[in-house]
């Protein structure tokens, strides 16, 4: 048990009171081992962002406990949290969130400087990291001159510079095309495995499932069994088997659909081509 980097026990986040009360996350528990890559998926509004904010020590849970390397970070005082975020977590965002006025080297080094590293060391470390990520030629570029993939690699460098125990990535591939997105995720996986860092990724992106060690499904603020989930063969959406609005049996297999429209399309394809086709992935 103590070997987990992150241990989340019975965490709940409630907003509002009385009639307006909303349970964004309810009674979630989770353990992440060192070097493990966990992908959390789920529909919009399922509580992914709230959970991620709590995991990242940006938001405090209403109930429950979050431990990082044994420390109960959910109990830390508010003004102690930035320090935790700075030294223990690396963040990667959907919009990259690089500082537009700074060069990419400065973007990376500034986080180390915030953590108290001397400027020269921070730059040296930043240069090494960026070199390792293939951005050695771009050190003094401003973010607006970079492609999306390059920006996200800068963000990875920034997330790594303080040697965090845990990297939190929020929709890291949302603004990238599928090839680049996949490359970036493979890069992240290699880093996690080589350096034994845990990674939690929150994403809708089915294409990065293969890089994850474990996939969790979050819906209505709770983790659901991934086993009970099926993929709609037409639109690619995840569908809960028991609650699927439409199903179809074909040659002994059951297909689950997000809506009747998808099922009809599937049936049409079967008639026309006689094969299970037109799957989008």
């Amino acid at each position: 048990m103590t070997s987990s980097t992150l241990r989340v026990s019975h965490v709940t986040k409630r907003y509002g009171k009385g009639i307006t009360e909303i349970n964004a996350v309810r009674d979630v528990s989770l353990s992440v081992a060192p070097g493990e890559i966990v992908l959390i998926m789920g529909p919009s509004g399922s509580g992914k962002t709230t959970l991620l904010s709590m995991l990242g020590a940006i938001l405090k849970p209403t109930e429950g406990e979050i431990r990082l390397n044994g420390d109960v970070i959910s109990a830390f005082a508010e003004d102690h949290l930035p320090e935790i975020r700075l030294r223990q977590f690396g963040f990667i965002f959907q919009d990259f969130n690089l500082l537009s006025a700074l060069t990419i080297l400065e973007n990376v080094a500034i986080v180390a400087e915030l953590a108290g590293m001397k400027r020269n060391f921070a730059r040296k470390k930043g240069i090494d990291l960026l070199n390792g990520l293939g951005l050695g030629e771009r050190l003094y570029f401003h973010p607006r001159k970079l492609s999306g993939g390059e920006k996200q690699r800068v963000a990875i460098a920034r997330a790594l510079i303080n040697d965090p125990a845990l990297i939190l990535a929020d929709e890291p591939t949302a603004n990238l095309d599928s090839k680049i997105g996949h490359e970036i995720m493979k890069l992240l996986r290699n880093i996690a495995k080589e350096q034994n860092r845990s990674v939690i990724i929150v994403s809708h992106d089915q294409r990065i499932k293969d890089i994850a060690d474990r996939i969790l499904w979050l819906e209505d603020g709770q983790f659901k069994e991934m086993m009970s989930m099926a993929i709609d063969p037409i639109c690619g959406m995840s569908v809960e088997r028991e609650k699927a609005p439409a199903t179809l049996e074909h040659e002994g297999a059951t297909y689950y659909f997000c809506a009747k429209g998808c099922r009809d399309e599937f049936a049409d394809n079967l008639k026309k081509n006689g094969v299970v086709g037109s799957m989008i992935f």
């Binding site: 940006i58 930035p82 320090e83 700075l86 969130n97 700074l102 915030l114 920034r158």
Partner: protein, 370 residues
């Protein structure tokens, strides 16, 4: 974080120009107005400082020359001459009148000089003769240039024609110049031969001028005797006292303008970088780091604006000397100190609102796509 402030400052050109330009404008305003009056203060005592006298004697309770009048009985001359330690006494007549040439009229101190006066005449001559005889005058070179006249031409002073025989330098200021005529002409025009305006006194260099001034006041009735330096400082105080409140008011306005521009640009800059401050917060930057950035930003732009303002004022003062507008800008240390502290106050106040804005920033916004 200071570097981030620096980068943010230069990132948006329009905002940079407005903030730095606004402060520079406001500071130039304060500085140049101060400098105008400091300049006038210096120019206005030119005659007194260069008269060559150690002591000025005037009508009782008259302590300066500008915007005033002094008249004493001629008997004062002999009374003063009897006091030991006095080497030379030069009586002058003085009033403010016009030097007229055609349509050109210029306000001037008219000084009536005795023949061979050892003091009180023009101290720097551009051309011609330094003492006027009957029917002659020495006027300022700039006034002559402005009126397009030279030596040998006529001008009208106190309603009578005088022939220009000399052109003096350093005898103009923003308001008036100095013209010299002979004391006998002055008496004729003044219509009163028993009166003089001031006595210029040269003392034995071994004696103390303040002692002798005190002796003059003790022994001669109805006069005020002041050491030249005191007389000169009284003259400066006339300008100072008259302008202090106007300057204070204008300074305050300049300050408000600078503050308005700076507060606004720091605020909008912070607003524009709001999401980035949110990212930094999420990454683990403390509020104090972000405050540091905002304060550096406001301090940096104020300081650049200030430096620019000082430069513009210095440039202006140099340009003005070439334009011969009789307007000198004299930038004093006090004035520099004043604008510098005003700038610091502006920088501090401007940072207040943005700091409150940042304090209220929720780092969780980074996950919500802003």
């Amino acid at each position: 974080m200071i570097r981030l402030a620096f980068h943010n400052l230069f990132q948006n050109k329009i905002r940079f120009i407005i903030s730095v330009g606004g402060v520079a404008l406001a500071m130039t305003l304060i500085l140049s107005l101060d400098a105008v009056f400091t300049g006038v203060e210096r120019q206005i005592t030119a005659y007194i400082d260069n008269s060559g006298a150690d002591i000025f004697v005037s009508q009782k309770s008259v302590r300066n020359m500008h915007m005033t009048t002094s008249s004493m009985s001629r008997s004062v001359i002999t009374d003063v001459e009897e006091i030991p330690g006095i080497e030379k006494v030069t009586p002058i007549l003085y009033l403010t009148n016009m030097v007229v040439s055609g349509k050109e009229r210029n306000l001037a101190y008219i000084i009536g000089l005795p023949e061979n006066a050892p003091m009180g005449g023009p101290w720097k001559l551009f051309e011609g003769r330094s003492y006027p005889r009957t029917g002659e005058t020495i006027i300022d070179r700039n006034i002559a240039q402005k009126s397009k006249i030279g030596i040998g031409d006529d001008v009208e002073i106190l309603g009578r024609k005088f022939k220009v025989v000399g052109l003096s330098e350093e005898t103009t200021n923003l308001v008036n110049s100095v013209a010299f005529i002979s004391i006998s002409d002055f008496i004729k025009l003044w219509g009163n031969s028993n009166s003089i305006s001031y006595l210029l006194i040269k003392i034995n260099p071994e004696k103390s001028s303040s002692d002798i001034a005190a002796q003059i006041e003790a022994n001669v009735k109805n006069v005020t005797a002041q050491v030249t330096a005191d007389f000169s400082s009284q003259e400066r105080r006339v300008v100072k006292d008259m302008s202090t409140e106007v300057i204070t008011m204008m300074n305050f306005i300049g300050f408000l303008i600078g503050l308005a521009v700076m507060a606004l640009t720091v605020y909008t800059s912070t607003l524009a970088h709001r999401s980035e401050y949110g990212v930094l917060k999420a990454l683990g930057a403390h509020n104090k780091h972000l405050y540091q950035t905002v304060i550096s930003y406001s301090l940096l732009s104020v300081l650049i604006g200030l430096a620019l303002g000082i430069m513009i004022t210095f440039l202006l003062s140099i340009i003005l000397t070439y334009l011969r507008l009789n307007l000198t800008l004299a930038i004093s240390g006090v004035s520099l100190l004043k604008v510098s502290s005003a700038s610091l106050v502006i920088a501090a106040i401007s940072a207040i609102l943005p700091i409150k804005q940042i304090a209220g920033l929720d780092p969780a916004m980074v996950f919500r796509g802003k």
